[in-house]
Symmetry: C2
Subunit: 279 residues, 2 copies
Amino acid sequence: MTQKRCMAYLGPEGTYSEEVARFLAKDEWRLQGFPSIEDAMWAVAQGEADCCVVPFENSWEGSVNVTLDLLVHELDLFIQQDVRWPIRHDLWVAQACEKPNSILSHPQALAQCRAFLGRRYPQAARIPVVSTAEAARRVASGDGDAAIGSSLLGELYGLKLLERGIQDDEGNCTRFVLLVKEPVSCRGESVQTSLICRIDGEKPGRLYELLAEFAKREVNLTRIESRPARTKMGEYVFLMDVDGDAAQPKIAEAIKAVQGRCVWMKNLGSYSVHYEANQ
Amino acid sequence: MTQKRCMAYLGPEGTYSEEVARFLAKDEWRLQGFPSIEDAMWAVAQGEADCCVVPFENSWEGSVNVTLDLLVHELDLFIQQDVRWPIRHDLWVAQACEKPNSILSHPQALAQCRAFLGRRYPQAARIPVVSTAEAARRVASGDGDAAIGSSLLGELYGLKLLERGIQDDEGNCTRFVLLVKEPVSCRGESVQTSLICRIDGEKPGRLYELLAEFAKREVNLTRIESRPARTKMGEYVFLMDVDGDAAQPKIAEAIKAVQGRCVWMKNLGSYSVHYEANQ
């Protein structure tokens, strides 16, 4: 029997990244949680893992900056698969507790349930902690009344479900990416291509010229995101998602033209996008 | 003697926001710390404070999403002043301790000192906590060896300086904004105008058309940042910073033309920008 290949994910156990890794891996991969996005991505870069699942963008909070910045500044990884995963936050308690006095979670999870908490538990203290797993661990050990997190997490820590699906935005969805060491060139329906471009910050209007290369070929940009170039304040790199695969002539031409206008460009690959339905 | 007007800031005591608030307030304002950016901004919206100082963008980490999202989605506040403040992280310990086994801080501060920590303290555990103030509080109470934070913070908690200026990026700088309830129309040198635009996400190429309105009038865009529109995944609002004041005819014309192309537009005002020198 051959050893299973390793899929890293943002741990600890019970995170949404683990839910997605389980979905992708089925029984064919060995899963391994890492304590940070950085650790999971470095594990792939250094060959300790074959691929990793990390969050990339949330419909409510926007880009996951750590993931994007590592792809821009440090690691030569590529996207193999994109999974849009519905995020359902549940409220978990250690014992039968109808009126929690404290509710713990990651600041983003607290923010995503703000209207609900204000309506249902106006008196409870909101306590921001470093992860949803840390919130569950503390509640399980008696240090706090309730934790917000995934159902996987609540079960893992033996907590009791107080309320299900408490996020304010019904459509709350996170985009996870499966990252690998070699570029991927997928084709077909529901394929997307991602580019990272750094343009000369001294020359205004450069972003406009870049977008013109897509617009005049009728190539559809589905996302444009700026991040600091880390050179000086006011210089940026841009992440652009293009609808379609880079083997299509008009997309290949646009990419070539864009490359000529950039100080630096990286093609993160053409990969398929999976939309998981709400449960 | 009249009562001093109130300037809110992102607390607790010892934050970089307090440093900037002290700089702006001199002796003419009463300063009040709030536990979150949201609380500080709501205090102004509800009239409990006259203005507030909150972080808006970091040269390394990019946008402060909470601030931007509140301006986009919730609060009708405007920018009165922009301050670019150099960020210096110091390493603080409770007692004479040359080899800390644990180093606590906010995840962003840890990230901003990563190369330094790897070089000087490779064995020390990095412990992410919810704020730099929480790190200092824990170290002062004996729960952890060292904390990363500002000099104001170290002094406030009676800690001892182990190393000064440990951030990897010498040019690390945060842009703070002073927010008020009424729009401001500053003129002159070193003035900037900020706009928030929501365009029709169904129609690709709309961002390109928007940028054309600036480019054809030779109006310099110094920043463009996308944030989720919070309608559905793939729809964004854009924050744009324009070099100059909105009383200049070419800028006034561009803004008018852009407004005609947007589903929704908000002018955050024309305000002066102050660059604080490195200390």
